[in-house]
Amino acid sequence: MASDAAATADTFPKLLIRNARLYGARPSMRHKDLGIWQTWTWKEVEELVRAYATGLSRLGLKRGETIAIVGSNRPKLYWSVMAAQMLGAVPVPVYADAVADELSFVLAHADVRFAAVEDQEQIDKIQSVLDRLPKLELMFYDETRGLRDYDHAKLRAMDDVIADGRQALAADPKLRDWLDAEIAAGKGSDPSIILYTSGTTGASKGVVLSGERSIRAATDTVKFDKLTENDVALAYLPLAWVGDHYLNYAQGLVAGFCTACPENAETAMFDLREIGPSFYFAPPRTLEVLLTRMMIRMEDASPLKRKLFHYFLGVARQYGERILNKQAVPLKGRLLYWLGNVLVYAPLKNVLGLSRVRVAYTAGEAIGPDLFAFYRSIGLNLKQLYGQTEAFLYVTAQPDGAIYSDTVGPACPNVDIRIAENGEVLFKSPGMFIGYFKDAAKTAEVTTPDGYVMTGDAGYFDEKTGHLKIIDRAKDVGRLNDGTMFPPKYIENKLKFFPDIREAVAYGDKRDFVTVMLNIDLTAVSSWAERNNVSYGSYQELAGHPLVYAMMEKHVAEVNSAMAADKMLAGNQIKRFLILHKELDADDGELTRTQKVRRGFVADRYKPLIDALYSGAREADISTEVTFEDGRKGTLAARVRIADVQPVAVSGNLGKAA
């Protein structure tokens, strides 16, 4: 049984051997190559990885050393991880799209002597920074294309390394015993992998995870979601991301399920359909793209199909989630839903490749309630989880049947969560990291004396459900003058879930009440304007249109009433807002290159507007410098109207009127 894993094996190589014994003839890995799905069974993978490990050892890889893994989701890269672990070496996966600078930072920081890379592109990248990597001795490549004329002093084909290992194993029977001894010598407490954080919040840090803890965490969630050797997952998320290592590698080895690698990044959607995974993970962004694409295609369908589609989506909205949650639904609803499933939902899921999905997760950022509800209503068991690299992914996850779009669920099995004074979420979990690589000071900084890890995220347990709600980064959470916790991003996200709001910036820290500046979404609002005969000459004019203001006021009021229902956040109702006369732009420094608002910079730049938001003025003048695409600069002056919103009375028995 898969759940015995923790008892019998405390490192991944030991699990591999166990799987080869238990599920020898079952598929372990699939990869589409030259248009055909190739399959390797657990037995074959074991032999392959043994040969690979032997080959690596003959090239000098030793216990405790690090080896970089650079590339996309390909079987040989996963096997590089396994082979390294078999020798007690520590794999260090690096994001395939990292630029040369980031790559050289990680490779140098992790002291790698060897690197297993996907192809010419990655080799070129590493070679361009070779002078910063004096310790790097050899690179192993999977894809031979374009490398024939390269100087092979520092290069080897993975196939050659594996072939060499296989030959050596065949020639010397004692070598196999030696390898068995190496596997047995691996301790569960040894570092199993180092995952570098992406570095969005400062310099990239190497998170060291141990085999024993990783396996314990994966065993818990495998049980939680009842994953077995019959499940299938498509590995299409970055290899270096904790999610891929957890969901596909660790859970795959613990449960013994099959991991399928797509042909390439662009074909993932098609491969999904061909593989029909039973376990699926997608970040909210991907789900949104899927939905948009589907809706656009539906617009081109025949009127009959379109009508059917929209009618049954309505049925799904009404009954779908309740059916999925196994709640009471009237017979009419069940019948209609059944018909809808035959006519619309099942074919739809089939096209998306989600027909066989039993468990699907989303995480990474807040997901819009409508988007979340859509997938659940058509019968996809989509759930949210919350976690981070330091926890080896899972901190909380939503259990089947208790799903709320704005919470991330209760603590996972064996995970202990505590909320600190300042609202920060702390946790202690089976999979938690050993420490940051070569950075004891940083490790101490994020660990409490009693062994909890600080997530840096602020959150609280929802009163009604007892589930955790994550609201913002802890350092961004402020306080209103009356002491109410003010999480700007939470408010902004709630606003941004409306398709016609592109960006929102909330203010309230050390103020009496909350105000926001909005950016309309030009695509959505202009198409609305077209349908409603609203004429406008420019973005600025559209943004200032009274009807647009009225529409935004409705959205703000909706957000207010949502917040009024929540005791913790009721004080954060938005009292005043304005619509900015220009789009926030990375060229003007208002957004980061990853399209995140630089709140402080925006506050300085639009100080007159913020002052007006709090002074009670009805409008304010602003003049800003803008940078055009060709680099020229100009000035944009505008008079911006400020709208007041009537706060919603706080519901329930709180007895506090706003």
């Binding site: 030259l34 248009g35 294309r145 374009g146 004329d149 390439n264 074909t267």
Partner: protein
Amino acid sequence: MRAPDGPPVTSGDVLLSIDNVSLSFGGVKAISGVSFDIRKGEIRAIIGPNGAGKTSMLNIINGFYHPQQGIITFKGEARSKMRPHDAADGGIARTFQNVALFRGMSALDNIMAGRTLKMKRNMFWQMLRIGPALAEEVEHRHRVEEIIDFLKIQEIRRTPVSRLPYGLQKRVELGRALAMEPELLLLDEPMAGMNIEEKEDMSRFILDVNEHYGTTIALIEHDMGVVMDLSDRVVVLDHGIKIADGTPQEVKSNQAVIDAYLGVAH
């Protein structure tokens, strides 16, 4: 690679030579007395202003036009005119200035069409699709999949080409030409109408084809930057006459070329 009839040609040898070729349509002289050669393994560019006779030149090479005068020597065999099937059998493949694909067919089927000449079983067998015909198709499909992998177009394998953006259609067309496993590949403005990124991609594919398959390439191109970066040697035509021939450097500094492109002050 299949070595078609004729003695083997080694790298650096002349693969094809055009000797004093002239072509006219009625009274219009498209090409007059042009001679040049294409060596095995090189990337040879044919450039010139509009109406210089570049496409006519390609059409002569692959036997679509028959010159009134001159000798074409391909792999040591001299002819006064090429015929299209001679060209195809002899290992010459081409792409067109305006994409010429089977629009309703998928990218895969279009590239598969490039294998037609290599199929040995007759139509009857292919329709039955059993035994040897099936084995043959599997073999050809394998080759086609290698090309799809090479050109990185896996995600559009099943897409009808009419739905593809222009840059990808061009790539499919290149794929179809490659499926013929040509010795000489003629590319008529492979980068016309592309944006910079598409141009860079296409340039890389052209270089890869040349390196990986060892294919000799003759290309017509308007983008001077691309020509200078890609090609080993350049021949310049103007009003049907050869005005220069040499390395990109030599051609760039040639006064006649500068005059032809920029005009001469009279």
